[in-house]
Point group: D2
Chain length 344, copies 4
Amino acid sequence: MIKVGIVGGTGYTGVELLRLLAMHSEVRVQMVTSRGEAGIKVADMFPNLRGFIDLPFTEPEPEQLAKCDVVFFATPNGTAMQSVPDLLKMGVRVIDLAADFRLKETATWEEWYKVKHACPDLLTDAVYGLPEVNRTAIATARLVANPGCYATAVQLGFIPLLEAGVVDPKSLIADVKSGVSGAGRKAEVGTLMGETGESFKAYNVAGHRHLPEIIQGLNPLSPVPVQLTFVPHLLPMIRGIHATLYATLYEDSALHLQNIFEQRYKDEPFVDVLPAGSHPETRSVRGANVCRIAVHRPQGGNVVVVLAVIDNLVKGAAGQAVQNMNIMCGLAESTGLKIVGLLP
Amino acid sequence: MIKVGIVGGTGYTGVELLRLLAMHSEVRVQMVTSRGEAGIKVADMFPNLRGFIDLPFTEPEPEQLAKCDVVFFATPNGTAMQSVPDLLKMGVRVIDLAADFRLKETATWEEWYKVKHACPDLLTDAVYGLPEVNRTAIATARLVANPGCYATAVQLGFIPLLEAGVVDPKSLIADVKSGVSGAGRKAEVGTLMGETGESFKAYNVAGHRHLPEIIQGLNPLSPVPVQLTFVPHLLPMIRGIHATLYATLYEDSALHLQNIFEQRYKDEPFVDVLPAGSHPETRSVRGANVCRIAVHRPQGGNVVVVLAVIDNLVKGAAGQAVQNMNIMCGLAESTGLKIVGLLP
Amino acid sequence: MIKVGIVGGTGYTGVELLRLLAMHSEVRVQMVTSRGEAGIKVADMFPNLRGFIDLPFTEPEPEQLAKCDVVFFATPNGTAMQSVPDLLKMGVRVIDLAADFRLKETATWEEWYKVKHACPDLLTDAVYGLPEVNRTAIATARLVANPGCYATAVQLGFIPLLEAGVVDPKSLIADVKSGVSGAGRKAEVGTLMGETGESFKAYNVAGHRHLPEIIQGLNPLSPVPVQLTFVPHLLPMIRGIHATLYATLYEDSALHLQNIFEQRYKDEPFVDVLPAGSHPETRSVRGANVCRIAVHRPQGGNVVVVLAVIDNLVKGAAGQAVQNMNIMCGLAESTGLKIVGLLP
Amino acid sequence: MIKVGIVGGTGYTGVELLRLLAMHSEVRVQMVTSRGEAGIKVADMFPNLRGFIDLPFTEPEPEQLAKCDVVFFATPNGTAMQSVPDLLKMGVRVIDLAADFRLKETATWEEWYKVKHACPDLLTDAVYGLPEVNRTAIATARLVANPGCYATAVQLGFIPLLEAGVVDPKSLIADVKSGVSGAGRKAEVGTLMGETGESFKAYNVAGHRHLPEIIQGLNPLSPVPVQLTFVPHLLPMIRGIHATLYATLYEDSALHLQNIFEQRYKDEPFVDVLPAGSHPETRSVRGANVCRIAVHRPQGGNVVVVLAVIDNLVKGAAGQAVQNMNIMCGLAESTGLKIVGLLP
């Protein structure tokens, strides 16, 4: 049994990790930390875990965490980087679900996250945890930076097109929509039900932190730097991301779009290319660790439209983290993740 | 492996059965029938099942169904009773998720369901599939009548009080609220999102079909016939039932209410009595086969208030059906049902 | 033109007051105060008001408020009582939408609101602003305590039964459900969309502050003190309250239930008794200053069921406040309130 | 008083027209027709109209409709064209809220609507009822084709850019999202709450009927035929459209984007250009006849992003129809339409 710890277990990615790990046959959750809730039983805060997780929240003490094989950080941005260096030294392997290790360039990271990075050396060391791209490196990584939710959906949608060289890398548009759980479980007016229910809006059009992460992920696939317009929106629902992606096709390149996607992902356990003409629904992946994708070329024009859906808390966060853990620990990649989405 | 068939797989209880059975280690789904959709792949209609269920819908041919060990009927009321007698004769065991075999009295059944019953003899034969009451009889039953969703929540909430004899059986009130999936997946104006979203109402106050079912279940626990006022309401959400139950306490009987509930359900794997003072949320049981219950006595008065939540499609339908199947087939009762609720 | 001021304009009752007053032909909004947002334009925070309200939020300066004819307090509980005595002395008439002046007994108020009352003398002076009961007193009141949202719906539902003497006053049960806007626009985890969407629960079963308010309102109509069990619930929607009320009928008293309600409210402009057998929906009153009521006697038994719906922000708050203002200022009571509910 | 009739009053645009007309000071609703519901009181079906509309539904008899000054058709596509020619002959002026007269080319209309047009001659005669473009022609029109909901939002968003000549007309992308009321009040599985709640998807990516309507509206503003990729999506909410529009800027053309929008709409009563940097929310226009627009140029790149929101049932249907009626009848254009959006 793999001994795991979770640092910061009171948010939505924390409780989702616990849901998945509680049903994982090869894992024992050793500890769940929370400075604010130490002493409280985890299942008192999240009653869905009653009968599955019998631990209290505890203080994040390094010597205790050091007894784990793998530690997940489900903390706000800027927290993991304070403790990860010490844990790595003690031989613990770390998966950070926040953004602390997602960018390779310190300057870019500090520009977007507005604080000084605590351990910039680790930025190059960390492996970006998108298994569909980095599976081999993840297997031996000490530190995995779990991708952002938008970043997961957008990259999985654009990768086949860029790898196949069929679209202009300077023409990328990502119109993405997310359920409110992506904003976390923080006391804020902006994500109250009264503010976000029965309404829809874009936000951060001037710039969202997943933009540099996506560009960093896509640039290696393109002969020239990609140009991406990225517009996130907030959906009046809880779980789910839908990325609607647009790119300009090079002439005659549209012939085999469906085939390009099917070939690229034919061996991927958690990317599901739908039949031509499909419109994936976010509910089809609710609670499940899968990205469903469809590709369209409306009116036979020169614009390709890719539709990609994930559950932001699963393939966009906790599920992908468990997938990474499986890879790191030499387990079958699907262990604990053969979960059917909850529909309706 | 238990070979199972599902008759009527295009509704919400059908797809939910398939979700649970697809993750059940001891079952092989042999066939899923639908007259209207025969030939279509099940996973084309319900993409959450892609990768798990590779069958097409087929016609409900008796000789094919006869090859199954257990057949679930997830059909509209009045359908199962047409085919069940033949299947039973061929040795198949049947679990009906509709209402065809829930009532014992033919006259009562025909009064509430407005048609003549096709096989009234089977009404007495059928076992009412509430394991918390009928576990032993279910184990050997040929035909199990899976309880209604409201009926499950209301009975589980009242049973401890009536068995303990602490409330006046003539004072029962059940104010129940259900998500819209309880109305099924039928083309009707009344359950459109435009009609049911962002709104709330009672319905069928003059009389709902689960009323006689509940009374039939509670009467044996009471020295006098119970009197129950039952008011169902429609919630602007998809899954979940919340029953708020009221009864008048006999004098001095309130002392051990919490204890009464904890004792009654201490060995039940799927009834979870919450700590005193709790308010169960429907989301804590989303997708999970569990009823969470809390008992209150506001202001120390003579009215007891019981709060009971279930997922109407799981403990209120498909999950309870799988629980019954496990019991009928001699499996551990929790097989395939150790599922953590999806929160948020 | 009546000059009005609003103290505390950044909450949901504040913006709703502004919506109604902006469309009111006899009113000029002079000032809207907010300590936290002073200097910000009201319409920048609430863009629905663009083109209608061109004021900035200002500090709540008494000398400025004193220039108003009527001042509404849309502040948290405990705020109005600090300033109201001074305003009254300066001749301003006040309508408090919070709870500061709703209870007559200082001890009861302080027990439920957990602070010392700043001006207990005014508790007896204040007029409880339920026009269907207190219209005459409201007309000449200096200080009106606008009723709570639950309290409005529950009282309007029970009043006809108690006045007619047809129910046992010791048997009252109010099972009430509210949209989340009733919790206000405060940064709190409990009312996040992620916490309240797609879920349903009861809360404060041990005791809710509207309980003493309702009892105070109903007791004068009963020969003995009423006994009320009051269970509030939180709906996964924004606006709307549905009260489901239960009471035990005295023998033979059920004959004229429909008539009792129709007679009681036949001259009321904002109480609408639906035809027998109706199930009022909250959406039918969305944005409208009306309470819709239906009365039922299920299965001809001895329990009467009353269904009452209001928009908690309108007839349950801002609309009722404007209705009170109209009465106080000698305007036609419906001025500015002839608004059709927004359906769907 | 203008005498109006409504043909087809049982859908969402019908009830919304009635809401607006009931509060319109210069209008008397003479009749509301419905073949299916004739004899039923309108307010029994739509209780929000109780106290405002006291008519029953009646059969659509031409001689009765001929007594009206203006007749609105709120019928499914293909219905109005059967009766409009006769009504026009009898001197009635008509506003069709469906699509029968929106396209100028008969062949294009028949290609997209899949039936033969009953009165193709009227296609050229009809005036496209987008007041921001066609105000003068609307004033004298006998027959107004009220624009589609998507088409309203998309055109209002692109018009300033195309008129100013700052974007490449071959680069247009419209990623649009609509609440489910846009699909109407029809008994269909696809728009059940169980199918559309808590989920999000694109639909009709291969081609949506508003595409030719938009292109027809935009082409006159462009030196070359526009090329538009149009992807509609279904939101898990009832009212509201959000159009996110993308176009490639000609070099150096981005300098005055905000100014271009403000100038274009400075005299428009129902188009509201938000301050630079804004993100309009659909709730800010709920129930209100207004389009709120913001323009962005992310990262100073060559892609302009326009965000436009409307209430699909108001500025996208019934409100715009009333606006057209006001223009046709010589009333002030805002009569009956000075309505503050319902927020929250």
